[in-house]
């Protein structure tokens, strides 16, 4: 799969992909950790299913948004069998672009009074 170096090409991101990017932007994580992290961040509103997660991961790997990492976290937290993922510079760029896109949309909604400014 040819890598897509243009962040715009991946826009708009599926929400699962965005959540995974955000989660990995903070730290390298393995699959279940991503699920837990996303759930925590969204007050349990978004619970990624394992299938959805790994299918997204597969595609994100192909698109160079994330990579499997060789460096393991502290040995005590490590589970040998797990694969860990980290965000790539491209993934970071894409996540940022997506966040900007979303915030532009929010701005738009505010300027038309659809959304109150307090939020």
């Amino acid at each position: 799969m040819k890598s897509k170096s243009d962040p715009e090409a991946a826009m708009p991101l599926p929400s699962a992909v965005f959540h995974i990017l955000v989660s990995l932007a903070e730290a390298d994580r393995h699959g279940y950790a991503i699920i837990q992290d996303v759930a925590a961040r969204t007050d349990g509103k978004v619970r990624l299913g394992p299938g959805t997660l790994y299918r997204s991961i597969q595609r994100m790997l192909e698109q160079d948004l994330i990579a499997e990492t060789e460096t393991r976290p502290a040995p005590d937290a490590d589970d040998e069998r797990r694969r860990y993922y980290r965000i790539t510079p491209l993934g970071r760029q894409v996540a940022r672009a997506e966040a900007e896109r979303l915030s532009a949309l929010v701005k738009l909604a505010r300027s038309t009074g659809l959304l109150s400014r307090r939020v």
Binding site: G31, Y32, I35, R47, G49, P50, G51, T52, L53, Y54, R55, I57, Q58, R59, D79, R81, R82, R83
Partner: protein, 864 residues
């Protein structure tokens, strides 16, 4: 846990291999975290929806990837791809078209309510060669009254009439029907009502039902057509209904249905056979029971009216069986030929795909070595093959839709169905079926076979690149199969071509070149007397003959090969033969000049003359075969012949003509002088076919002749303007199409076989380059090497030709009924077919043989 592991099988294998463990780990962690039964239920629901959704998406993803990469591979080798697509399109298109027509004519139910219960009834006069003869009105009325097997029985006859009241006066083909006909067929009208038994009664206004086409073309498709008054041959009719477009009864030409009433004189003559009868079997009554009952009724009628009905039976057949044996055979032959085509196309495809996959053996092995699973490789090849076949199928389907109307003309159909099958879901389904069949058998199987051999071996450079003996043998037998099928097609096409030539060589008995024909139908009752008709003929013929470029002109009742019937029982020399041995003759009325116009030689005696007055002695001309049959070796002039209405004196003998068409035996002919027919007698036979012999192009005369007719009577409609040669050509049109289609099949087949043979040998030469190099190095001459390659090709061709000869002989024998007397073992045809196959074999081997001769031993061995 185990349940979830099983669930994982929903994912594509590659995905499962990559992430299965991870998924299981996540699942384990989640079950650990899920406390209490409620949480577990929620978890399972979650997992189920997640698995199904993501598994589907993963499959779609993969398929999209496969198609994308397939498209890339396909576009990388356009030559190969186009060949595959075209070959597939050819096979699929031909088969789909042939099936569509066969389905239309032989398989699809007739467009009536419960068509399997519909039967046709005929007078069975097998004792004199007519088992399906129309019946007479009195007989029909008796059949209807006496029989108990039928829910309804109706009679009808074709009838053409001048129609006034639509947008312009026209001559139209229609039918006279008893009211029961519509009920029996069970087709509701599109507008208004159909005729019913009430319309059979004399004294009521005559209703008229019109066809959809007539309604839209002549009545503007307006709803207020109902109640409109229309004159049919000067008889007023009220339009009461419009039939839907799919209603083609009794034939596609039928434009209207008028009431048939059995009044007065119609009921007098029991031997006037002109009624067709259609009936619907009662529920629970079998065809056999109905036949038995009608046999009984026939016996009663024979006893009651021996003069008309002695030895007569009644034939009851299913309506579907109206398809003639010849038409049936033609269709099955067509289907067989198209299957041959499909087979050849498929073998070629398989061969192409095999060689291509072999070419890519190394690429596949590399990918296998890099960790691509076998299923992934198979999947991708499958996608490629199916993609190509599907494109081919789509093109083939479009081509089939385009040629179906042409192919339909192969079979002159006497069924009451639309001429051209509707391009509906069935054609689509047929295409799809054939495509899937092609794709699976010849796309999937080679892929599977090759994928199983895609292994590390391909990487070893010195290996003979993947030519297993089994594969070679498979490809060889494919080539043999192609040549076999080609042989069959060539032989059958050749035999049919011979038959066509033979039919075309038949002398019709008249000269059609330069003759213009047209119908000037005479409105009745204005022309029901002989005098006004004679005046009309005299004026038209007088004017036409004086036109520049006209050699001669004349009138006759019906044109040969257009109207094939018109047969009457006759009595010769006053010897009243019993009815069952009555002699039949084809009867026509003619004006002077008719024979000369068609250059039918008067062999003895004289032509009819204007001086043959109605009050003078009645004269007739007979054909040679008439003389041969009744007065062999005697002088016919002055002898007497009698038929229904008169006693005639033979004044001349003319050459026989092929009234029933080139392929059939015609009854002896009897020609009466139009001027001598008693008033109102056999009006149907009044000459209305004008024939004009031109010096130059007959079509140039059309406006002048039209004007001449209009001057004689402006209210006489003119129709069916065409050269006589066109009528003669139409007689062999179906054969011409048959030969063309089969010829095209045969040509394509042999071409494909050549390509197949070439492909096989080229590949094998390429694979054996090293071996050939070694042979050269060991002192083999180029001639020897060439013989090696050519010999192999010829052996394969020989096999194919041998098997082909046997199968072709079998196929030809089944075609015998279509061969018009050409011997199905015609040696010229077989020799030609063998010759063509051999030439093709030589051509197919030439290039590979040359390539083999040019192998440089040093290069070949150095690569070792």
């Amino acid at each position: 846990m185990r349940v979830y592991a099983a669930l994982l099988h929903l994912y594509p294998r590659s995905f499962r291999a990559e992430y299965g463990d991870e998924l299981l780990a996540v699942f384990r962690a989640r079950t650990r975290d899920a406390m209490g039964p409620r949480a577990r239920v929620v978890l399972w629901l979650d997992i189920l929806t997640d698995t199904i959704a993501s598994a589907t998406a993963a499959h779609v993803d993969l398929a999209r990837q496969d198609v994308k990469s397939a498209l890339r591979t396909v576009s990388r080798s356009p030559g190969f791809s186009i060949t595959v697509v075209l070959v597939a399109a050819l096979g699929i298109g031909a088969t789909a078209a042939a099936f569509a027509v066969t389905d239309h004519v032989l398989l699809r139910p007739l467009p009536f309510v419960r068509p399997d219960r519909l039967v046709k009834l005929y007078q069975d006069q097998s004792f004199r060669g007519y088992s399906r003869m129309e019946t007479s009105p009195p007989n029909f009325v008796d059949w209807r009254r006496e029989s108990r097997s039928f829910a309804g029985m109706g009679a009808y006859t074709s009838w053409s009439s001048n129609v006034l009241g639509a947008s312009e006066p026209v001559r139209l083909d229609g039918a006279l029907v008893t009211g029961a006909v519509f009920g029996v067929l069970g087709v509701p009208p599109a507008l208004g009502r159909t005729l019913t038994t009430i319309d059979d009664q004399d004294g009521t206004a005559r209703g008229l039902v019109i066809s959809y086409r007539l309604w839209t073309t002549q009545f503007g498709g307006r709803a207020d057509v109902l109640g409109q008054s229309v004159l049919l041959d000067d008889e007023p009719h009220i339009v009461v209904g419009v039939m839907p477009p799919s209603f083609n009864f009794p034939s596609r030409e039928t434009s209207f249905w008028a009431p048939l009433r059995f009044t007065g004189e119609l009921m007098e003559d029991r031997t006037n056979w002109w009624l067709d009868v259609v009936a619907r079997l009662k529920d629970g009554v079998s065809l056999e029971q109905a036949r038995a009952e009608m046999q009984g009724i026939a016996a009663q009628l024979a006893q009651a009216y021996p003069a008309a009905n002695a030895r007569n039976g009644i034939t009851v057949i299913e309506m579907r069986d109206l398809v003639t044996r010849q038409a049936r055979l033609t269709l099955w032959a067509l289907t067989g030929a198209s299957l041959c085509m499909l087979l050849i196309a498929c073998t070629n495809l398989a061969s192409l795909l095999l060689s291509r996959t072999l070419d890519r053996h190394k690429e596949l092995s590399v990918r296998a070595a890099l960790g691509a699973g076998r299923d992934r490789l198979v999947r991708q090849m499958l996608t490629e093959n199916i993609l190509l076949t599907a494109i081919g199928g789509a093109i083939g389907g479009i081509a089939a839709a385009a040629v179906v109307p042409l192919v339909t003309r192969l079979v002159p159909i006497s069924l009451p169905i639309a001429e051209v099958p509707a391009l509906d879901g069935r054609l689509f389904a047929i295409c799809l079926l054939v495509t899937v069949w092609t794709g699976v058998l010849f796309g999937v199987l080679p892929s599977l076979k090759l994928a199983s051999s895609a292994s590390l071996e391909g990487l070893k450079d010195g290996m003979r690149t993947g030519v297993s003996r089994a594969t070679e043998r498979l490809r060889s037998s494919l080539v043999v199969g192609e040549i076999t099928a080609s042989m069959m097609l060539i032989v059958c096409a050749g035999l049919l071509l011979q038959a066509l030539w033979r039919v075309q060589a038949v002398d019709p008995g008249f000269q059609a070149e330069g003759v213009l024909t047209l119908s000037t139908s005479l409105p009745m009752p204005k022309y029901s007397d002989t005098q006004p008709r004679q005046r009309f003929y005299a004026q038209v013929l007088g004017e036409v003959r004086s036109l520049p470029g006209v050699r001669q002109a004349g009138y006759i009742s019906f044109l040969p090969m257009v109207m094939r019937g018109g047969i009457w029982p006759i009595t010769v020399d006053g010897q009243r033969s019993d009815p069952e041995n009555a002699h039949m003759a084809s009867l026509r009325l003619v004006t002077p000049g008719f024979f000369d116009t068609l250059r039918i030689p008067v062999l003895q005696g004289r032509d009819v003359r204007d001086t043959d007055r109605p009050d003078g002695p009645r004269v007739t001309l007979v054909s040679e075969s008439f003389v041969r049959r009744h007065w062999p070796g005697l002088d016919p002039i002055g002898r007497r012949v009698a038929f229904a209405f008169g006693d005639l004196e033979v004044v001349g003998v003319v050459q026989d003509i092929k009234v029933r068409g080139l392929e059939r035996e015609s009854e002896p002919q009897l020609y009466l002088a139009a001027s001598q027919v008693p008033d109102g007698s056999i009006i149907y036979y009044s000459p209305k076919e004008l024939v004009v012999s031109a010096v130059g192009d007959p079509r140039a005369l059309v406006p002048l002749v039209r004007a001449a007719v209009a001057r004689a009577d402006p209210l006489v409609p003119i129709s069916n303007i065409r050269p006589l040669s066109e009528i003669v050509e139409a007689d062999t049109a179906a054969r011409v199409v048959q030969v063309r289609v089969l010829g095209a099949f045969a040509a394509t087949a042999i071409l494909l076989a050549a390509v197949g043979l070439h492909g096989l040998l080229a590949f094998s030469v390429a694979a054996r380059t090293r071996e050939i190099g070694v042979r050269f190095a060991l002192g083999a001459t180029p001639g020897r090497v060439m013989r090696l390659v050519v010999g192999r090709g010829l052996v394969l061709a020989g096999f194919g030709i041998g098997v082909g000869l046997i199968l072709a002989a079998w196929a030809a024998s089944t075609l015998q009924a279509l061969l018009f007397g050409v011997d199905p073992r015609n040696s010229v045809v077989y020799a030609m077919a063998v010759g063509v196959c051999l030439i093709v074999a030589v051509v197919g081997t030439a290039l590979p043989a040359l390539r083999a001769m040019r192998v440089d031993p040093l290069d070949a061995i150095r690569a070792e």
